[in-house]
């Protein structure tokens, strides 16, 4: 009896010690990252909530204005116009990026082109370039006088007569889709290729033996089996197209006549723009963007639920 209780007491002590060690290990592992997260992410974000209640240019005395900035925001036609443009980009850009990336990844994974490795580098190359370089490249392409696009169209007898694609309200918003997609596809091609390479070859072999065609294989086997990866990519691209504005800022700065303005750019210009400087109002719009991003994520989760596939 005594021996038994001695053993169980030792076990309990050992277990408690093990738990303590585990706790210490967890603290060591998590504390630095957690501290960094609190300092550099959580704290600024929480402060943004406070700033959104101020009329403050970042320097002079801040005036507490309650929810005035939010009221102004709701009445601000530029906010709604920018959100509309975001909505357009949110629908078009992710769809094109994911579709083109899937197609290219499927070709590179399943076709034994001699230049496969070269193509992978070429497709990924756009991700190595900075956004500024991508934007400037496309500004040369779209240039009305010397642009590649007008030159290319002229080969087919279409004289665009110095037409500036980014200078017309009818074309600017759609012209911007091209650099966004061109700059975004490469990364997802690489991700999809890696996901596809994890699918066992035996599944494809069986499908071929059954007489499946390439498109059937793509839509019935490949895409369903990498559904989880596609889902993550869709989330990234949609959220990215909601908050990204760098290419737009460089190419059109929201013009002509606001036809390419998006919410991120509007917020940036309110905080750091040439004509205006109000951290408070910009923070209120930042809060709106935050709510939209969280909302978009929840909608994606609902529409496109996570499913684990095992093979």
């Amino acid at each position: 009896m005594n021996a038994d209780s001695g053993v169980s007491a030792r076990k309990r002590t050992g277990l408690a010690k093990s738990r303590r060690q585990k706790t210490v290990f967890l603290i060591i592992a998590i504390a630095p990252s957690l501290l960094g997260y609190i300092l550099f992410t959580l704290y600024p974000n929480v402060m943004s909530v406070y700033y959104s209640l101020l009329n403050w240019d970042g320097l002079s005395h801040a005036e507490f204005v309650g929810f005035d900035n939010y009221v102004n925001m709701v009445k601000d036609e530029f906010v709604w116009r920018a959100l509309y443009h975001n909505l357009l980009y949110m629908i078009v850009v992710p769809a094109l990026i994911v579709f083109i990336s899937l197609l290219l990844a499927h070709l590179l994974s399943n076709k034994s082109y001699k230049e496969n490795a070269f193509y992978k580098v070429i497709f990924f190359f756009t991700n190595v370039l900075s956004t500024v370089v991508v934007a400037l490249l496309w500004s040369f392409i779209f240039d009305g006088s010397f642009g590649l696009l007008n030159g290319f169209l002229e080969i087919f007898g279409m004289n665009m007569n110095d037409f500036y694609w980014l200078g017309d309200t009818r074309t600017a918003i759609w012209a911007l889709v091209l650099p966004m997609v061109w700059g975004g596809v490469g990364l997802y091609v690489v991700i999809f290729i890696n996901a596809m390479s994890a699918i066992p070859k035996s599944i494809y072999e069986a499908a071929y033996l059954e007489g499946a065609r390439p498109m059937t294989i793509l839509f019935r086997i490949t895409i369903p089996l990498i559904r989880g990866v596609i889902r993550v990519c869709v989330v990234f691209v949609i959220l990215g197209s909601l908050k990204g504005f760098e290419i737009i800022m460089i190419l059109t700065n929201g013009g002509p006549e606001g036809s390419t303005d998006v919410i991120g750019l509007y917020m940036f210009n309110l905080a750091f723009g040439k004509e205006y400087h109000n951290y408070g109002y910009a923070s209120a719009i930042g809060m709106l963007l935050f709510v939209i991003l969280v909302g978009a994520k929840l909608i994606i989760d609902k529409v496109y639920p996570e499913e684990n596939v095992e093979f």
Binding site: R20, Q21, V24, F25, I27, I28, A31, P32, L35, G36, L39, N55, W56, D57, G58, L59, S60, H61, N69, N72, M73, D76, F78, S139, F142, D143, G144, S145, D162, F163, Y164, W165, L166, G167, D168, A172, L251, T252, N253, G255, P256, E257, G258, N269, L270, F272, G273, K274, E275, Y276, H277, N278, Y281
Partner: protein, 496 residues
């Protein structure tokens, strides 16, 4: 023991993280500076010794024994830093007890903004060029009491010119601009001018009028240019304010001057009294821009042009005139074709050939502010250095090396100095000799920050390319923007 080690390890990791975050006070300088530094003393180490003997005192009353290192934030713009190197060399030769620690970078704003936000006087520069991303930041700093007043410099003798006061060589507009924040936050070491720049050679070849003296002559010129298959006026539509700020917004002052209401008009403009955008003069200015747009005087795809592209159109003779600042000559000198000769004109708003033609100008980017929270001795020496920049040798270097407009009105009294000007500045001076020119800036007595101001500015900014392409009458937009502006003015007007 293991637990103790683990705890110690985690403590070390946290300390290292914090050290990494906070311990970079001096690193940014190391990464971006070109230092003209001596090794004697740290920046704020003005080892004041008030008991300096008479013989150890300079003419300016400051001691020769007090070693001072001035920390300077220098915005190395397109004009380079040769003029600053010369200024520092001359100054330190004359005052060997003063040394400089210069942070010289084209992106000074990225260093200034965090330093100001950090709010530590010790970390701040003694003197710096107030180059910020946002407009109005200088005003905000001044109103927040962060800048040392430089008013005493106006009554100081210019270096090497006893009896000649600084104020006597500064234009009235530049002087008033300097005082616009309620005190002299910076004296205008140099300036800039803006308007319509062109290639004189092209104008000569085509037989175009290089000096239209009346509105009708100006319109006739644009008609002729268009008839010759060249775009009359270009501007960077991506930053459309280049057209209004430098050219068309000036017309309101020309018109007010012509109808005899200039003084009241300018006072109301500066103080935000009465309508700002819907005055008859301003509406007329915008309407003229719209009429030009309908006539096709601007490029059809102008909204897509950045400022380099628009300036290139003039260099390539696709456009005749570009609305920009006098920095264009320096900015484009690498691509300016041989034989190209810069010319300048402003728009004569009425048909009186003797009318006053206003030219937009402002305090240039070589003018320093002094941080108020620094030691008194540093601030005194910073002022001495700023005053030394009015030495003609430095002013000539600023004009010839940096390609800026000289701050001194008497610069042009010596033809040898005029010959040193870069082509665009020389073109403006030449224009000023042929017309009744007055310089004017857009300063106001207080700044607007309310959201309505931002919305009004956005409306106006978007209207510029719409008017310049003849698509949208500006009248309704001006009315709408005016309402928003008036709300902002009401909210932001300083309480008495």
């Amino acid at each position: 023991m293991k637990n103790v080690n683990a705890l110690l390890l985690s403590l070390v990791m946290v300390v290292v993280l914090l050290a990494g975050c906070g311990g970079n006070k001096n690193n940014e300088q190391a990464s971006s500076t070109a230092s003209a530094k001596s090794s004697e003393s740290p920046s704020a180490s003005a080892s004041a010794s008030s008991s300096a003997s008479e013989s150890n005192v300079y003419d300016n009353g400051l001691s020769k024994d007090d070693k001072v290192t001035l920390q300077m934030g220098f915005w190395e713009a397109g004009g380079g830093r040769a003029w600053m190197d010369l200024a520092v060399k001359k100054f330190t030769e004359k005052y060997p007890n003063v040394t400089f620690d210069i942070t010289s970078t084209p992106t000074l704003n990225t260093i200034l903004e965090p330093k100001i936000a950090a709010g530590k006087d010790d970390d701040m520069f003694d003197l710096f060029i107030p180059h910020f991303l946002a407009p109005g930041q200088l005003d905000r700093l001044a109103h927040a009491g962060k800048l040392e007043p430089q008013d005493d410099l106006w009554d100081r003798d210019l270096p090497g010119e006893p009896g000649k006061k600084l104020r006597s060589v500064i234009s009235d507009d530049a002087y008033e601009t300097s005082l616009s924040v309620g005190f002299t936050a910076r004296v205008p070491v140099n300036g800039y001018t803006a308007g319509l720049f062109f290639d004189q050679k092209l104008f000569d070849e085509k037989g175009w009028n290089k000096n239209p003296a009346t509105w009708d002559e100006f319109v006739a010129l644009l008609d002729q240019i268009k008839a010759d298959g060249v775009i009359p006026i270009t501007f960077p539509g991506v930053y459309a304010g280049y057209l209004t700020d430098y050219t068309f917004n000036i017309l309101q002052f020309d018109l007010a001057k012509a109808n005899g209401s200039f003084d009241t008009y300018v006072k109301n403009f500066r103080d935000f009294e009465g309508p700002l955008l819907t005055t008859p003069e301003n509406k007329e200015a915008w309407n003229r821009m719209y009429e030009f747009g309908k006539k096709g005087y601007f490029p059809s795809g102008v909204a897509a042009l950045n400022h380099t592209q628009s300036q290139m159109q003039v260099l390539q003779h696709k456009a005749a005139l570009v609305s920009t600042g006098d920095w264009v000559g320096n900015e484009m000198k690498e691509t300016t074709p041989e034989g190209f000769k810069w010319g300048f004109m402003a728009i004569p708003a009425v048909n009186d050939p003797n009318q006053t033609v206003f030219v937009n100008s402002g305090v240039g980017d070589a003018s320093f502010v002094i941080w108020k929270g620094k030691p008194d001795l540093n601030k005194k020496w910073a002022k001495e250095f700023i005053l030394s920049l009015y030495d003609f040798e430095i002013q000539v270097s600023l004009a010839s090396e940096a390609g800026t407009y000289p701050g001194r009105l008497d610069f042009g009294e010596d033809p040898a100095r005029i010959a040193k000007l870069q082509p665009t500045q020389a073109a403006v001076m030449e224009y000023a000799t042929k017309h009744n020119v007055e310089y004017i800036s857009y300063r106001h007595t207080f700044g607007l920050t309310s959201p309505e101001h931002g919305q009004a500015e956005k409306l106006l900014s978007e209207q510029i390319t719409a008017a310049a392409t003849g698509k949208k009458d500006p009248a309704s937009v001006l009315e709408k923007a005016e309402k928003l502006k008036q709300i902002a003015i009401e909210k932001d007007r300083p309480k008495q």
